[in-house]
Amino acid sequence: MFIAVSSVILIAIAVGLVRAIRGPSLYDRVLAANMIGTLTVLMVAILGFMTGRPEFLDIALVYVLISFVSTLAVLRVHNPGAGTTASSVKGSGEQ
């Protein structure tokens, strides 16, 4: 059971990694990173149950809360569609 679940998750991570590396646009990469973040949460949860110590779900929770923030940060900075507003959004902006 665990074998099946963790293999599926690992394969999904690998597929996500391919997207992150090949791109081609930044959004593909951001999305891939976010997806890998989500899969990592699952992975950690599975590992907790597999080794008989489910209290490690704590770590999974941290991932959930934090991976969201870095995705947000990238999207805030890189906003080519919005043109000049991109710089005002971040407060630092691009040159």
């Binding site: 665990f2 074998i3 963790s6 690992l10 991570i13 690998a14 990694l17 992150a20 590396i21 791109g23 930044l26 990469r29 951001v30 891939a32 990173a33 890998i36 973040g37 990592t40 992975m43 950690v44 590992l47 907790g48 597999m50 080794t51 209290e55 490690f56 704590d58 770590i59 929770l61 941290v62 991932y63 809360l65 934090i66 991976s67 969201f68 923030v69 870095s70 947000l72 940060a73 990238v74 805030r76 900075v77 890189h78 507003t85 005002s88 959004v89 971040k90 407060g91 630092s92 902006g93 691009e94 040159q95």
Partner: protein, 320 residues
């Protein structure tokens, strides 16, 4: 099974590493670095290092990525093609790698329970710490008590980083709240941020005070706490966040955390013990250890949270 997961994760890490070498878009590289951190954090869980996994996730995938993204935003996204052929670096790296591989030949096998590293000091930590300190998480008792002095050093390092970023980038308190205007439209983001913000802070407090029993402690809590505020700043603008926690207050808090830590050490000295000897802090040695660990973890949490925010403010308030 665990071995298989371990191997696959190592393979994925290797692919990510090579991709980082080749990729030219720096934002892309930043994303890959964040993935690298996530993968290594999963690997840490497989290898039973839950505290380390928590920290790596909070730092690598959280704060470090945010800082790298901010730096790319302040500089440029494209990496120029190197002018000279990297022959010498390649040679240096090969030689170093070969030396290390040569060194592995006499190492104990991976996971060998009879390896010297597990038999001596670590073994007695596992056996004695429940009696001497009374905290189930051995990592916490070693970190905060047996090797508490390293942790004081660690807090000082992070404090140094804050002083450095202040000196290099400074920070400006914003008069007008420019970003807030642009954000007003993004309802989904603001609702989610509002939902998440208290949750993250609550979770940070849990990690802070539950560190004795499960993975966590002052450092992780501080990072999570700061991440909460970074989320807030991202959603509602830096100005709003700075009104919530002004820069001057952060400076005081960053100093206060280190001082709390040092004060615990000096107090135990005044009570007749050695520096950082917590057992003299209360009548009962175990209670003293608990009190000491609680206080220094508090100091760590305060300094780390405020230093992270100082650094974040520094990067984000910088303009051309």
């Amino acid at each position: 099974m665990e071995n298989l997961i371990n191997d696959v994760l190592l393979g994925l890490l290797m692919i990510t590493g090579f991709a980082i070498v080749r990729m030219k878009s720096l934002l892309g590289v930043t994303m890959l670095t964040s993935i690298y951190s996530l993968l290594s954090a999963s690997l840490f869980v497989v290898l039973d290092a839950v505290d380390v996994a928590l920290t790596e996730a909070a730092i690598g995938a959280g704060i470090a990525t945010v800082l790298m993204v901010a730096t790319v935003a302040l500089t440029t996204d494209e990496e120029k093609v190197p002018r000279h052929t990297p022959l010498l670096p390649l040679l240096v790296v090969m030689a170093t790698g070969a030396a290390l591989i040569y060194g592995t030949l006499d190492m104990p096998h991976h996971g060998d329970p009879l390896a010297p590293a597990h038999r001596y000091v670590a073994d007695s930590y596992l056996h004695d710490s429940p009696v001497e300190i009374g905290v189930p998480n051995v990592v916490t008792s070693v970190l905060a008590s047996y090797r508490g002095y390293d942790t004081l050093g660690e807090v000082t390092v992070i404090f140094t980083a804050a002083a450095g970023v202040l000196a290099l980038l400074g920070y400006r308190t914003r008069g007008r709240n420019i970003e807030a205007a642009g954000i007003r439209k993004q309802v989904v983001l603001r609702v989610i941020a509002k939902l998440f913000f208290p949750l993250i802070l609550l979770f940070a407090l849990y990690v802070q005070f539950h560190g004795d029993y499960g993975p966590g402690g002052g450092f992780q809590a501080g990072v999570i706490f700061a991440t909460g505020f970074i989320l807030y700043a991202l959603a509602f603008g830096l100005g709003t966040a700075q009104r919530l926690i002004p820069s001057q207050l952060l400076r005081i808090l960053a100093a206060a955390g280190v001082l709390i830590y040092a004060a615990v050490g000096l107090e135990s000295m005044l009570l007749g013990g050695k520096f950082l000897e917590y057992r003299v802090l209360a009548d009962d040695p175990i209670a003293g250890q608990h009190l000491g660990i609680l206080l220094i973890e508090l100091g760590v949490g305060i300094t780390v949270a405020s230093v992270m925010l100082i650094i974040y403010y520094g990067f984000v308030s910088r303009r051309h």
